[in-house]
């Protein structure tokens, strides 16, 4: 992990209030499932960096897909091409790479680390859900379609793909492993329904992202004991049997 002053190389806005961002810099290499902390502003308000999953890393560039939801993400989206942006990367443990027939299940921005993971896999089934067709960004990842894979899209209103929640359309085949990333309620429901081995990428509020503040606490079960660990260091990816789905 390293703090690097990057430079905004490319950005465009996508339907559904998403920002696609390419930042150039001398970044150390990353693994799928790892994340970066971006600084929204050199000023003290907002005070903290924001965590974002790495969408892809290539040459000197890091790619992100950011849903604009509040002040921090808005400020990041207002950076101009050529403007400097401070990045701490790579952070967290990342996914464990498994052989065989795997399922990737992503809800909303949860798709981000799965896109990176997909780029390292030979074959997979992708289950991708969102509220409406506007929030389905699969067209942006055309290169995904070039890979041997199956893609199942779900939307809550049925405006694209199958109608309903992602968790209502989990394929009834046997997978050797599943990788899941998305909002808590979706992941909790997935964990309840899915019987096979799986790992989950959890999102928590983060203060630093590099292990010093203990603000990113998640409750997990390890060696039969309940423990509080840091999502930024011991996570953000946890095995299914470790996660405790009620956090407070």
């Amino acid at each position: 992990m390293k703090q690097v002053e990057g430079e905004v190389r490319r950005k465009f806005f996508l339907k559904g209030n998403f920002l696609f961002l390419e930042i150039e810099g001398n970044f150390p290499p990353s693994k799928p499932g790892q994340f970066a902390m971006l600084s929204p502003s050199p000023s003290f308000d907002p005070f903290l960096r924001r965590p974002f999953g790495i969408l892809f890393q290539d040459g000197n560039s890091l790619f992100f897909l950011i849903k604009i939801i509040g002040r921090g993400t808005r400020l990041i989206s207002e950076k101009r091409i050529g403007e400097r942006i401070s990045v701490i990367t790579p952070l967290g443990n990342g996914f464990t790479l498994k052989e065989g027939k795997v399922l990737l299940a992503g809800g909303g921005t949860g798709i981000v680390p799965l896109v990176y993971l997909a780029s390292k896999l030979k074959g997979f089934t992708l289950l991708y859900g969102a509220k409406t067709r506007d929030e389905i960004l699969i067209d942006q990842f055309l290169w995904l379609k070039a890979m041997p894979r199956e893609i199942i899209i779900t939307t809550e209103d049925g405006s694209a793909g199958k109608k309903g929640l992602l968790t209502q359309h989990i394929p009834q085949e046997d997978f050797s492993y599943a990788y899941v990333s998305g909002p808590w309620p979706m992941m909790r429901e997935f964990a309840r329904l899915y019987k096979g081995e799986a790992e989950f990428s959890l999102e928590t509020i983060m203060g630093c992202g590099f292990g010093v503040c203990y603000g990113c606490a998640v409750r997990v079960r390890r060696n039969g004991r309940e423990k509080i660990v840091r999502a930024c260091m011991e996570g953000p990816v946890f095995k299914k049997e470790e996660v405790i789905w009620t956090q407070r």
Partner: protein
């Protein structure tokens, strides 16, 4: 420039100390920051035993700062000594232990334990965590309670002993005097300000606790006043803490009487902040024609 200062029974190579709880056990910052360049490192609060801290959520961002209710999660004194201290002591800087206790005797246990380690330079008694007792209560709210803990700790160690104080009391000056009388070599102030954040939609606290502690640049003017009040009326070394994020901030704290400062929350957004702050302060001093930090300490001229 000669950057040395004397503070709380130690000679520091410079007045920049990493504060407890925002630098982990020190080694986590090594990828970002040359730990040899800081005056001292105060490690995350340690109890005699391992602690899980409060349930999530434990953090909420506020204008120019943050609210936390971590509740002193930590590996406990023995695991720290085995797993982190050997690595940390390779750096040429002072290591200061932030000693905690639920019961008064636990503070004494931690102090006694670390007194045996030559690599530990000093002990800072955390009398002021707002996140471990009902309603934010802590020993440093009262002179008597503070006195008793410092006195008991003083009896088991010859190492420099610092007391970390809370601003959440109407008796700050009395508490600082009581610590001095009980044998403290310095008081570190401030710890976080008791505060709260609520969500009107869910009608619940933003944190898993009712209150949290506020820190960051938002509290700097409050902390500066607290340091001034104690430094100008109690004969004890003061270590200034609270929102310090630039070289100029550092010099302001020294001006009102702090002998050294601790860098807290700014590290979370900028892991190498301590190095930048030192560089800025040194060049500001030089610009104004000073030869060292001692020439500015306590030289406040008033209104």
């Amino acid at each position: 420039m000669d950057t040395k200062v004397k503070a709380g029974g130690l000679v520091l190579k410079n007045p920049v100390i990493l504060a407890s709880g925002t630098a982990g056990y020190g080694v986590e910052l090594a990828p970002f920051l040359d730990l040899n360049r800081v005056g001292a490192i105060v490690v995350k609060g340690l109890y005699p035993y391992e602690r899980q801290g409060n349930p999530p959520p434990r953090l909420w961002e506020t204008p120019c700062g943050l609210l936390n209710s971590i509740g002193l999660q930590g590996v406990g004194m023995k695991r720290f000594a085995e797993e982190y201290l050997p690595q940390l002591s390779r750096y040429e800087t002072h290591i200061i232990i932030n000693a905690c206790g639920q019961e008064d005797e636990e503070y004494v246990q931690v102090v006694e334990y670390f007194s045996k380690f030559p690599s530990v330079s000093a002990l800072e008694l955390n009398l002021s965590c707002p996140n471990v007792r009902e309603g934010g209560k802590c020993p440093a709210m009262w002179p008597r309670w503070s006195y008793e803990i410092v006195k008991a700790a003083r009896e088991v160690t010859k190492k420099p002993l610092w007391a970390k104080l809370t601003p959440n009391t109407s008796s700050l000056v009395e508490v600082a005097s009581a610590c001095r009388e009980a044998g403290a070599d310095a008081v570190s102030l401030v710890n976080t300000y008791l505060a709260m954040a609520v969500d009107f939609r869910t009608r619940r606290s933003r944190l898993s606790t009712l209150f949290g502690g506020l820190s960051g640049p938002a509290i700097k003017p409050l902390a500066l006043r607290a340091v001034y009040l104690v430094a100008s009326s109690v004969d004890v070394d003061v270590i200034g803490i609270g929102g310090i994020s630039s070289g100029e901030d550092l010099l302001e704290f020294l001006l009102v009487g702090a002998k050294a400062v601790q860098i807290g929350s700014v590290t979370l957004r900028e892991p190498a902040a301590a190095e930048r702050i030192l560089e800025e302060a040194v060049s500001l001093l030089a610009e104004e024609g000073y030869n060292n930090f001692n020439e500015i300490i306590g030289r406040f001229q008033g209104v």
